[in-house]
C-alpha cells in the first residue's frame, strides 16, 4: 500500500513562504481526493489479502454511471461490494464531511468571537449531543425511528444546549462575546455532568455492547456512518456551510472589532445570530453522526490560517478541505493499523503536538 497521505505538513511549508491561495486550494483538493481513495482502497492486513486495491477499483467502477457497463461483475460469493460500498465509502465520505464542517465552524467561531481558543464545541453543542446519544443508547432505543433515534436525539439536544447558551448570553438583543463564551462553558459543563449521571444510574454491568457504543460516541468514531448519515451531513452541512461562506466578507470585517464592523455597515447582532445558528447546525450534524471528535475544530483553522492567511473567502474553503483531509487520514490510520481505535483519539494524539508546535512558532 502507498504511504499515508501526509496531510498538512507538506502543503504548509510549501505555501507559507509565498501565499498562493488558489494553488494551495488546488493542492489540497488533490491531496484530499488521493487520501479518500487510499482510505477506501486499503484495509487491515487480513482483509486486504483478499480484497486488493484492484478489486476496490472494480467495485467503485460498478457503482459509477458510465463505467459500470464496461466493468466485469464481481463473483457472486464475494463480499467486496458490501465492504467497499456499504462500509468504507460512506465512512470515508462522511468522515471528510465531518472533519470539513468542524474545521469550518471552528474558523467562524474563532473569528467572530475574536478568540483563538474558540472551537465549535464551545457553545455546548458537543455536551448536549453527547447527552442525547448516551440517553438513547442507555434506554436501548438505538433501533427506534428506523435507526435514526440516536442521531436525531443528539442533533436536537445539541441545538437545545446552544439555544440555552444564546438566551443566557444575550441581553436586549445584544450579545457579548465574553458572556457567550462563559455561558457556553457553563451550559456545556452542566449538560456534560448528566452524561456520567445517566451512565451510572442507567447502565447494567452486563451490557458490554452499550459500553462500547457510548465510548464511541464520547471519543468520536466513523465506524457506523451509513449513506443516509452522509445525506444528513450533506443537507445540514450544506445549509450551515453556505451560511458561513456567504458571511466571509463580514467575518473579515469582524476581525477589526465589532465597532469597526458596524461602521463598515455590518449588522453586527444579526450577523452573530446567523453565525451561531450556522455553526450550531453544522456542528450538531457532525457530532450526531460521528460523536465528539476532538481537536479538528480547534487546530485545523490555525493551520489553515498559516497556509492561506486571514482572508475568509479563501480561509473557509481551505479549512473545509484541510479538516476533511486530517480526519480521513486519521480514519485511515485507525482502520488499517490501529484496530479501529476511535478516530477522536487519533486526532487528539496528532492534533495536540501540532498545536504545541504552532504555539512555539507563534511565540518566536
Amino acid at each position: 500500500m502507498t504511504p499515508a497521505p501526509t496531510s498538512s505538513k507538506e502543503s504548509q511549508s510549501f505555501a507559507s513562504k509565498k501565499r498562493h491561495p488558489y494553488l494551495s486550494l488546488m493542492a489540497l483538493v488533490f491531496l484530499l481526493v488521493g487520501a479518500v481513495l487510499v482510505n477506501i482502497g486499503s484495509g487491515d492486513a487480513m482483509v486486504s489479502e483478499k480484497i486488493s486495491p484492484g478489486t476496490v477499483l472494480q467495485v467503485i467502477r460498478l457503482h459509477l454511471p458510465f463505467l459500470s457497463s464496461h466493468t466485469p461483475p464481481l463473483p457472486v460469493e464475494s463480499s467486496a461490494d458490501s465492504i467497499v460500498w456499504e462500509l468504507r465509502a460512506p465512512g470515508a465520505v462522511g468522515g471528510v464531511l465531518v472533519g470539513a464542517l468542524l474545521a469550518m465552524a471552528g474558523v467562524a467561531f474563532q473569528s467572530f468571537l475574536q478568540n483563538p481558543l474558540a472551537d465549535p464545541y464551545m457553545v455546548g453543542v458537543s455536551s448536549g449531543a453527547a447527552l442525547g446519544s448516551v440517553l438513547v443508547i442507555l434506554m436501548g432505543g438505538t433501533g427506534l425511528l428506523l435507526g435514526w433515534a440516536q442521531p436525531i436525539a443528539a442533533f436536537a439536544t445539541g441545538l437545545l444546549a446552544t439555544a440555552i447558551v444564546y438566551f443566557l448570553a444575550q441581553k436586549q438583543g445584544r450579545l457579548s462575546s465574553q458572556t457567550f463564551l462563559l455561558a457556553g462553558i457553563v451550559v456545556g459543563t452542566f449538560f456534560w455532568s448528566f452524561v456520567p449521571l445517566a451512565i451510572s444510574l442507567g447502565n447494567r454491568s452486563g451490557n458490554l455492547d452499550r459500553q462500547s457504543a457510548i465510548l464511541s460516541r464520547l471519543l468520536g468514531s466513523l465506524q457506523s456512518i451509513t449513506w443516509s448519515h452522509v445525506v444528513l451531513l450533506a443537507v445540514f452541512g450544506g445549509i450551515g456551510g453556505l451560511m458561513l461562506w456567504t458571511g466571509a466578507n463580514e467575518l473579515d470585517m469582524m476581525a477589526f472589532g465589532e465597532e469597526s464592523a458596524a461602521h463598515l455597515g455590518v449588522n453586527v447582532e444579526g450577523f452573530k445570530r446567523r453565525i451561531i445558528l450556522a455553526g450550531a447546525l453544522v456542528t450538531a450534524a457532525a457530532v450526531s453522526v460521528a460523536g465528539i471528535i476532538a481537536f479538528v475544530g480547534l487546530v485545523v483553522p490555525h493551520i489553515a490560517r498559516r497556509i492561506v492567511g486571514p482572508d475568509h473567502r479563501v480561509l473557509l474553503p481551505t479549512s473545509f478541505l484541510l479538516g476533511g483531509l486530517v480526519l480521513t487520514s486519521a480514519d485511515w490510520l485507525s482502520r488499517v493499523y490501529l484496530a479501529q481505535l476511535e478516530v477522536g483519539v487519533i486526532t487528539s494524539l496528532i492534533g495536540a503536538p501540532i498545536f504545541c508546535y504552532l504555539l512555539r512558532r507563534g511565540l518566536n
Binding site: 484495509g43 487491515d44 487480513m46 482483509v47 483478499k50 480484497i51 460469493e77 464475494s78 463480499s79 458490501s82 465492504i83 456499504e86 462500509l87 468504507r88 438505538t142 433501533g143 435507526g147 459543563t189 456534560w192 455532568s193 452524561v195 456520567p196 451512565i199 451510572s200 444510574l201 442507567g202 447502565n203 447494567r204 454491568s205 452486563g206 451490557n207 458490554l208 455492547d209 452499550r210 459500553q211 462500547s212 457504543a213 457510548i214 465510548l215 464520547l218 471519543l219 465506524q223 457506523s224 451509513t226 484496530a339 479501529q340
Partner: protein, 318 residues
C-alpha cells in the same frame, strides 16, 4: 478534567467486562463427544426464527460460519461444526482448535473481517453484538441472533443454532444433556443444610455485581446457594458498605480481583467470605460466565465448593 476521568472510568469498565470474556484456559477438557447423527437428513431451504422473532431463510446447510462470541464458538464446536467455522473472536479459546481460526475482532467486531470470509451464516448474541448485528444486516449478511440472558435462553440458543446448521439431532442431545446435568445438580444440592449467601464480584472499584433474575443468579440457585444481592441495585453496582451489610459467605471472583477484595477496609473483619478466605474460582474462568455447553461443569464445581462450605460449619444458623 471531569471528561477525562469519565473516559478513564469507561475504559476501565470496558476492560473489566472484556475480561469476563478474555480468559485463560486453565483446565483442558476434551471437546464434547456426541454420537454422530444417523437418520434424519436436514431439509433445505429452511426458515429459522431467531431470538428476536426474526426469520432467517437458509437455502443450503451453512458451510462458512462466523461466530461473534466465545459462547457461540463453543456451541458450534459442540455441534461438530468446527471444520465449517471460518471466523471467531480473539477471546474464543475453547476448544483449542478454535484458537487457530481466523480472528474477526475482539471487544469490537471488525465488520470487514467478517464479510471478507464470505460467510453463509453469522451467529451473534443479542445485546452483546448489537452494533455488529446492525452493521451486518445493513449489508444483508445472513445473521442468526441468539439470546443468552438465561439458562433457558442458552438451551434454546443451542437448539436454534442446531436448526440453522442442520444438526438438529446433535443439538437436541447437547441441550437435553445440559438440562439433565443441571437438574441433577439442583436435586443433589437441595439436601444442603443451609444455603450460603454468594456474591458475584466482577470488579472491586467500582463494585460490579449481578442481581436477581440474571444468568449468574440462576447458577447460584442451582448450585445450592442464594444470591447475596437479593434486590436489584442501581446499575448493578454496590458500595463497600452494602457488601458489609449483605455479609456474603462466598465470593465468586477472578484471581486478580481477590487480593483487591481482601484489602478493602473493613471487609476482612465484617465480610464472612473475606474473613474465611472463601473465594471461589472455577477451574477455567470462562465456564461459569460463558453461556455454553460447558456450563454444567462450572455449576458442578460451584456446587461442590458450596457443599464444602456448608459442611465446614455444622452449627451455622441461617
Amino acid at each position: 478534567m471531569s471528561r477525562r476521568n469519565l473516559l478513564c472510568g469507561l475504559l476501565l469498565i470496558a476492560f473489566v467486562f472484556a475480561g469476563r470474556h478474555g480468559v485463560r484456559l486453565d483446565a483442558v477438557q476434551p471437546p464434547r463427544t456426541v454420537p454422530p447423527k444417523t437418520s434424519s437428513v436436514p431439509i433445505y431451504p429452511r426458515s429459522i426464527k431467531d431470538a428476536r422473532g426474526k426469520s432467517l431463510t437458509l437455502l443450503h446447510p451453512p458451510q462458512r460460519i462466523v461466530s461473534l462470541t466465545p459462547s457461540n464458538t463453543e456451541i458450534l464446536f459442540a455441534l461438530q461444526l468446527g471444520k465449517k467455522v471460518v471466523g471467531v473472536t480473539e477471546a474464543c479459546d475453547f476448544p483449542a482448535e478454535a484458537k487457530q481460526k481466523p480472528k474477526i475482532g475482539g471487544f469490537q467486531i471488525n465488520i470487514e473481517r467478517v464479510l471478507v470470509q464470505s460467510p453463509d451464516l453469522i451467529v451473534a448474541v443479542e445485546g452483546l453484538n448489537a452494533r455488529a448485528i446492525e452493521a451486518l444486516e445493513r449489508v444483508k449478511a445472513p445473521v442468526l441472533v441468539v439470546s443468552t440472558k438465561s439458562i433457558a435462553d442458552t438451551l434454546q440458543a443451542v437448539r436454534t443454532i442446531g436448526a440453522a446448521t442442520g444438526t438438529d439431532v446433535i443439538a437436541n442431545r447437547v441441550a437435553s444433556d445440559m438440562q439433565s446435568s443441571l437438574n441433577n445438580i439442583l436435586k443433589a444440592q437441595s439436601s444442603l443444610r443451609w444455603k450460603p449467601k454468594v456474591l458475584m464480584l466482577y470488579s472491586v472499584n467500582p463494585i460490579y455485581t449481578t442481581g436477581p433474575g440474571s444468568y449468574i443468579d440462576e447458577i447460584i440457585k442451582i448450585a445450592g446457594g442464594r444470591n447475596a444481592v437479593d434486590k436489584p441495585t442501581s446499575g448493578d453496582k454496590l458500595s463497600a458498605e452494602q457488601v458489609l451489610v449483605l455479609r456474603p459467605d462466598v465470593i465468586i471472583t477472578g484471581k486478580e480481583t481477590q487480593p483487591q477484595a481482601e484489602q478493602m477496609p473493613g471487609w476482612a473483619q465484617g465480610v464472612p467470605a473475606v474473613a474465611k478466605k472463601r473465594f471461589f474460582h472455577a477451574s477455567d474462568d470462562a465456564i461459569l460466565v460463558r453461556p455454553c455447553p460447558r456450563l454444567p461443569k462450572g455449576v458442578k464445581e460451584l456446587a461442590n465448593y458450596l457443599r464444602k462450605v456448608v459442611d465446614s460449619e455444622p452449627n451455622h444458623k441461617p
